[in-house]
């Protein structure tokens, strides 16, 4: 794990160096040219190898997952692009079975399109992207995703990726066939032409790759369904390899709140990044550097930091040594700095979250919560959660968990996710679910958790599980506790009604025995016995008011979509113990 991070970092650094050279910056490290060359050489031999060795970290561990990851990366990119341009997304996804475990995947969006010169870099250069350097709530983060898919496609089928993109109705579309030069991590352009495309704007990518299509809980079908749940403003038209067309129509025309891009917060900055930023910056003094490159650092705060670090405010950033940088980091830790702004986060909202859940399961009770923004390591984040209980949900087995990060469903690695840990470490027994020790609670329950952040900390580049930051776990637990309290209210009410009904049935049951016993004891007539029964019934029942009907009414949930709910549930995958399947019947 550590090795990999170092590996990726070295890519980044080399890449940064490349760009710097292109930019003709004034600070080339001429003395280190030999070392630089060495580093380059290392990278050049290892890029394909690196991918081969680390494909599990990128989500290509097996053929089934490779297909899902490819779809996922393309969809993430399309949705990010649409959201940034305030376009209501409409995606068309087609997977065609070409035999011999080969599939052709095409993902088409109505997004803003991509400028011609950028297309090769975005799709055929690893670690290129707009997202890595910015702190903004995005689906994609690293700039690995789609180019990794292109690489995988190329490695397994030898075919080029076909991309067409159009940025405006008035211009023609650009069509590229691209491969990745695995020696140099550079795009290799196979074909480049202008084409007519009926779309006003948008992008379409087509890849051939080795994969396995299977329905079930970790399928493409399930992934797209969950994407639709968590992105109610998206329309997806999907044709699976069996030729079945599934349409997920948008549930709302309202565009989600457009999150702002923020500068990093000082609390989240580590030494390496700080040094890199110091090299990069256009600012001329260290004080200016602190106030412009970071959020929530004003003149006063910058002075305080620099004073604590014993560094004069007018020091040039590129003259800051490693030791000085270390002092700055320490000074930052000892300075009180305001939390980062939270307008950089776009939550889904408790209401829409609940609506999505209602579509998926027909339960008796729903509740949802959206927590206020919180911060981990200088990164603001928001936790949202929803819970469904009872109805058609199965009462035995662990509760079902739906996990989302920045509006992307997480289907794998449930066991090692901070969300799962938070669920296990919440005490559900006091909320009416059974639970043994620190395990996942049992009961007819589905829990949905969403984390939105400018930087979601995943346990790996495959972005399958959330890392275990105490601040995040604490927030998730607080959200779960709120859901739990609401759940308990419902469960307690249901139990009371049940008790009340039992008591009422007691009245019916035992009054005749009282009248009968009294008849044996004081010998009255049969007519009088009936009379006593009536008197007793009147006496006991008149105090008992109306009670709510708590029986499950299948037709009550109008949001519920049976066809929708079925998706991803048809075929159980016996080898996968990570995900417990829900079946309605």
């Amino acid at each position: 794990m550590v090795e990999t991070t170092i590996g990726l970092d070295s890519f980044r650094n080399s890449e940064d160096n490349n760009e710097k050279e292109e930019n003709n910056d004034s600070q080339p490290k001429k003395k280190e040219i030999k070392a630089n060359e060495l580093a380059k050489k290392q990278r050049e031999i290892s890029i394909a190898e690196f991918f081969e060795k680390n494909r599990h970290l990128l989500g290509f561990d097996n053929k089934r997952k490779a297909l899902l990851t490819t779809i996922k990366e393309a969809v993430d990119n399309s949705l990010d692009a649409c959201d940034e341009s305030s376009i209501l997304p409409e995606l068309e996804i087609v997977i065609t079975d070409m035999g011999n475990d080969r599939y052709r995947v095409s993902v088409e969006d109505n997004g803003p399109g991509i400028v011609k010169t950028q297309i090769p870099k975005i799709f055929a250069k690893l670690l290129y992207g707009s997202k890595f350097h910015s702190l903004k709530q995005n689906r994609g983060q690293q700039g690995i995703g789609i180019s990794a898919s292109v690489m995988y496609s190329q490695l397994t089928t030898g075919r080029a990726a076909k991309i067409i993109s159009k940025i405006d109705p008035t211009v023609k579309a650009h069509y590229y066939e691209l491969k990745i030069d695995t020696q140099k991590n550079k795009p290799e352009i196979i074909q480049d032409e202008e084409k007519d495309w009926s779309k006003d704007h948008g992008t379409r990518i087509e890849l051939d790759l080795e994969g396995t299509y299977q329905k079930g809980p970790q399928s493409v079908d399930e992934y797209l369904k969950q994407t639709a749940i968590i992105n109610p403003h998206v329309t997806i038209i999907y044709v699976n390899p069996k030729g079945e067309q599934i349409i997920f129509p948008r549930a709302t025309d309202k565009l989600p709140f457009q999150p702002a891009e923020i500068k990093p917060h000082p609390y989240g900055v580590e030494l390496g990044i700080l040094i890199k930023m110091l090299n990069w910056t256009q600012t001329v003094t260290i004080k200016k550097f602190l106030t412009t490159e970071f959020s929530r650092v004003g003149g006063k705060t910058a002075d305080e930091i620099l004073e604590k670090a014993y560094i004069p405010p007018n020091t040039k950033p590129n003259k800051v040594s490693r030791e000085m940088a270390e002092k700055i980091i320490e000074a930052i830790r000892n300075t009180k700095i305001m939390s980062p702004p939270s307008d950089c986060i776009s939550p889904i909202g408790a209401e829409l979250l609940e609506k999505g859940l209602k579509k998926e399961v027909n339960a008796e009770f729903y509740t949802s919560v959206s927590r206020p923004p919180e911060v981990y390591r200088g990164n603001p984040f928001i936790i949202e959660a929803a819970l469904a209980y009872g109805g058609t949900l199965k009462a035995d087995g662990g509760v079902n968990i739906l996990r989302f990060a920045n509006k992307v469903p997480l289907l794998y690695q449930q066991g090692s996710c901070a969300m799962t840990e938070s669920i296990s470490k919440t005490s559900w027994r006091s909320y009416g679910l059974s639970q043994s020790g620190n395990n996942i609670p049992q009961g007819p329950c589905m829990i949905l958790i969403h984390i939105a952040s400018v930087w979601v900390p995943f346990t790996s580049e495959a972005k399958e599980a959330i890392a275990h930051y105490p601040e995040i776990i604490k927030e998730i637990k607080l959200a779960l506790q709120e859901l739990g309290r609401n759940l308990y209210k419902y469960v307690a009410k249901k139990r009371n009604v049940h008790e009340e009904l039992k008591k009422r049935s007691y009245i019916e049951k035992y009054i005749p025995s009282i009248a009968e016993a009294l008849k044996e004891l004081i010998k009255y007539s049969d007519v009088e016995e009936k009379n006593v029964v009536e008197l007793l019934e009147e006496m006991l029942e008149k105090h008992r008011g109306q009670i709510d009907n708590m029986d499950f009414d299948e037709s009550k949930n109008e949001e519920y979509d049976e066809e929708f709910a079925k998706i991803g549930r048809e075929e159980e995958e016996p080898n996968d113990d990570e995900y417990k399947e829900v079946k309605d019947e």
Binding site: Y506, S513, L518, L521, L536, R544
Partner: protein, 360 residues
Amino acid sequence: MSEVIEKITAEAQKIYDNIKKKKRPVLESPIRALSNVKYNVEDGFFELKGSKKSRTLTASSVKTFAQTLKMMALSKEIVEKNDIATKREAYYVSKNWGDARFKEQPESDTVMDDIEAMLSVNREKLGFIPEEKGGDIAGKLIIIDKNPDTGKEIRIDCTKFGSGAYSIPSSVEELKFETEAKFILAIETAGMFQRLVKHNYWKNANCILVSMGGVPTRACRRFIRKLSDEMNIPVLVFTDGDFYGYFNIYRTLKVGSGNAAHINEYFCVPKAKFIGITPQDIIEYKLPTHPMKEVDIKRGKDALKNDPFVHHHKQWQKAIKQQIEMKARAEQQALAKWGLNFVIDNYLPEKMKKRDTWLP
């Protein structure tokens, strides 16, 4: 009409009248617990202090209400027919009651105890008898019973059971006695009773031996009470030297229990005295002991704190404290350390002479 039937009918009538008046009927009975008794020193038994629990007819009490009334009706029927039913039989009769039937016998036993307390008559008078054996008798006593068929008197000589014994019946009210014994010796364990019978201890000591077999049954307590009252002979109690022997056995026999406080008046033996094994005996006879467990010690501390009988008797308080300090208990059989018949040849004769070693 017998007194019991009158009481049952009156209670039923009261309930019926309330129903007619559209008032919720109430069942009332004394709380049966040690906290609700006081030690009546004059008459020598635990009597009720007067706290009562009343159960008003509500949706949640309707089941118990129905079962209580059905049980009262059953009692009335049994008494009218001059029959009896064991507690277990009563439980089975309830199986005819439809929804009001009992699921397990403890439920019916509780209802029975509540009726007993409510009407303050003992269970036997309601026609219900326990399953348990009453206890064994051997020694210088003639019991006059009746032949169940003919009603003719039968004289039972308790000296003539050889190595066996006479068994106390569940109802002892009709029995009569003839004896010239000097005292009654009530013994905790059947084993010790066997030894004393085998060696004709009763002959030499001129006494009546009673085997209680643990906590004495009501019949056993009533038998000893009746015998000692009518024949005017003292009662001595011989148990293990532990808190179970002192309180669960001896104190229950002498003054009654908290749970059955409503009937203690008839089921106690106020003149009983405790001869052993006392904590002091353990020391003086150098008896082999077992360490006391936490629960045993707790029983002693509870007695010091909550038992009105212990509160009244300083000697008992001293004995309990002494034993808690020793943290040890000794069984009756521990006397065998000094020889199997040490108890007959030495211990009992010595204890008989030294009245000051007894506990009240």
